[in-house]
Amino acid sequence: MNNKKKLSVRSLIVRIVALAAVIALAVILAVIGRGHTVYFDNKKLDADGTSYDPFYKVEVFVNDKSVAKLSEGDRGMVPVMGQDFKMVLHITPKKGSKKVGSAVSMKLPYNIDGIVLNLPALLSGAAEDVYMDEFIPTPTAEEETEDVVITDEFALPSDE
């Protein structure tokens, strides 16, 4: 009897540890799996009296893949996972001038889904709150219409 009880304490501990491990795993997944959409603006930005001019052309590489080629005034985007964000920019500042490579890495804020980066401001070394902005989607008219919700096959044929 005593033996049995001891065993159950042991298994209780094992179970608690296992449960804790699963919960820990869930938390870790929630952190590393957090997805963001990063938008790159190659636009003119005026902030705090400073003006950042757009480049003639920028090509953005994330994970060695070209995700956007931006002309003046363009916006590009890439969905990413996790908060460590690295990108390589190939910048052509003026028409005809030479391509300049530049690697940027930064920490993305966990709470924001869509993050807008103003590339000119970012590369000129402006403060974070200047080059970074939250993307707020504006629902399009089409989305606004109420979905027709199909329930189940149990419903009587609509006979109204």
Binding site: S11, V14, R15, A18
Partner: protein, 532 residues
């Protein structure tokens, strides 16, 4: 063998009653280590109940426990469940197999006692996630089979096995329990061939040599004589004899099993028996076989005379119940049945009923009654369906409407005639007591106005008062209406007191037909003559 210590098992002054019905009175039983004790007695003598007490069956506790005490190795024990009994070293092989059909011998021997290996998953999810240790299982099964001394294929699947091997698997399962000290074998040879039975007897001897005590229940007395050290005979809830097997014989045992101390009063009906002797044969059964599970009938020929009450007796499982069930078409049957010179087709309940047979089944709740319906329905239904009675015809017979008034009338008639205790004729059958349900079944048969009535176990499971009423009603029905009655019963006394003649069935065959005034010993001998 007996080394002078406390005996392995001692049962002292065991008493047991079911709702006031005393079934065991002051039973004393002693079993020593390595001893083989034969336990014999008619059905209903109390053997099974005694073994159930020993094995801690739930049913004993549910019916109010038992009196007296059980001692194992000199210590008082009280088992709350069969598992306690197994824990204490008692094993039991039941008449019905308790085996998983798709499992191998090994798996069945070690069912729910498999040796296991621990693993990572079982640490988290508990012991049931342990993996089975197949090598150890094989080893342990092999050991148990060896201990039994009969060769059984360890890998064979149960459903592919002959019956005998199943029996041996069960025994091996008990033997594989390390703590086993006492093994109860309940009619183990009933399903075995002669050769297998011999092997079993041999293995019983072997087991006894290893120090395992065995209680051996059987109807085959020669087996008892061959293998047992001691024979205990039970009758009507008493132990009537306990003898070393060397001091007794099958003849003595038979007498002890069925014998009475005082002569019974002559059969009530025997006075008319003389005049019925010459009555013409009304029903003639020839070479009847019936495939009724547990009550197989093989090659029965039997004549029933007009106006008589014929009793059919025999031990349980010997086929007496199969006879009426087969004739009435409830189980597949073959042979010929001739009633009043006309052959009645078998396997067709309807044609039997049309020939004005009626049948009161032993399975009241399963076959005899519409439990969810009113007494009116129960009593009037067959007569309505077979004979178009209790119906009103409309549209020139196109519409046959139930005549509720006539139904109520006939029901009320039988309620008062048979003293059925109920609130009204509308009461549901399931709400009545067993005895009253039986009376409803009788009323149902009477309402058919049969010429030939089969009654199967009319008094099973009903109290003494109702018993007398039921038997009296049958006798009166026979006398007043001149209906021929066949009563099938396990209780010899009942048959002797109600019938004109008694046919005894043994091993699925008619062992003999005797007048009801024959002595119990004569009848008993017949009962055991061809037991299988």
């Amino acid at each position: 063998m007996n080394n002078g210590n406390a005996p392995l098992l001692e049962m002292r002054n065991i008493k047991k009653d079911f709702f006031g019905n005393q079934v065991l009175t002051d039973i004393n039983l002693t079993v020593h280590e390595g001893e083989v004790v034969g336990l014999v007695g008619e059905n209903g003598a109390g053997k099974s109940t005694l073994m159930r007490i020993l094995f801690g069956a739930d049913m004993i506790r549910e019916t109010g426990g038992y009196g007296g005490e059980v001692l194992l190795n000199g210590q008082k024990v009280q088992f709350n469940s069969p598992f306690d009994a197994i824990e204490a070293g008692i094993g039991m092989v039941h008449q019905e197999f308790s085996l998983i059909p798709g499992f191998s011998t090994t798996e069945n021997i070690l069912l729910n006692r498999e040796p296991v290996k621990k693993n990572l998953v079982s640490e988290v999810f508990g012991d049931r996630m342990n993996t089975l240790n197949r090598t150890m299982m094989d080893e342990r099964a092999a050991n148990a089979i060896e201990m039994m001394g009969v060769k059984v294929d360890r890998k064979m699947i149960i459903s592919d096995m002959p019956v005998g091997h199943k029996q041996f698997t069960e025994i091996a399962r008990e033997l594989s329990k390390e703590q086993l000290k006492l093994l109860i074998l309940d009619e183990p040879t009933a399903v075995l061939t002669e050769k297998e039975a011999d092997a079993l007897l041999e293995s019983i001897r072997g087991m006894a040599k290893r120090g395992i005590a065995i209680i051996f229940i059987t109807h085959r007395l020669q087996e008892i004589m061959a293998v047992c050290d001691k024979v205990v005979v039970m009758r009507d809830g008493y132990v009537v004899s306990e003898e070393a097997s060397s001091n007794t014989s099958t003849a003595i045992i038979t007498r002890q099993m069925v014998g009475r101390d005082v002569d019974q009063p002559a059969s009530a009906a025997s006075s008319d028996a003389e005049e019925k002797k010459d009555a013409p044969v009304i029903l003639s059964v020839k070479r009847l076989w019936v495939d009724m599970p547990g009550e197989t009938v093989r090659d029965v020929s039997l004549d029933v005379r007009e106006g008589e009450i014929l009793g059919i007796g025999g031990l349980a499982g010997q086929g007496k119940l199969g006879i009426p069930n087969g004739i009435m078409g409830l189980y597949p049957a073959g042979g010929t049945v001739v009633f009043e010179g006309k052959e009645i087709p078998l396997n067709s309940p309807r044609s039997c009923l049309d020939a004005s047979f009626a049948f009161v089944s032993e399975d009241r709740r399963g076959v005899g009654l519409l439990l969810d319906e009113s007494l009116e329905w129960n009593i009037a239904f067959p007569a309505m369906q077979i004979q178009n009675r209790f119906l009103k015809n409309y549209l020139g017979g196109l519409v046959k409407w139930r005549d509720e008034k006539a139904i109520k009338e006939v029901t009320d008639k039988y309620i008062s005639e048979l003293a059925i205790r109920c609130t009204s004729s509308k009461q549901k059958a399931k709400e009545l007591s067993g005895g009253n349900q039986q009376k409803v079944c009788l009323a149902k048969a009477f309402a058919l106005n049969p010429r030939m009535l089969f009654v199967s176990e009319p008094t099973r499971g009903i109290d003494v008062g109702a018993k007398a009423l039921v038997l009296e009603a049958l006798r009166r029905f026979n006398r007043e209406n001149g209906v021929t009655v066949v009563i099938v019963s396990s209780e010899l006394e009942e048959l002797r007191s109600s019938c004109d003649r008694i046919a005894i069935v043994s091993g699925g065959r008619v062992a003999g037909v005797l007048p009801a005034s024959s002595s119990v010993e004569e009848l008993g001998e017949l009962m055991l003559s061809q037991v299988i």
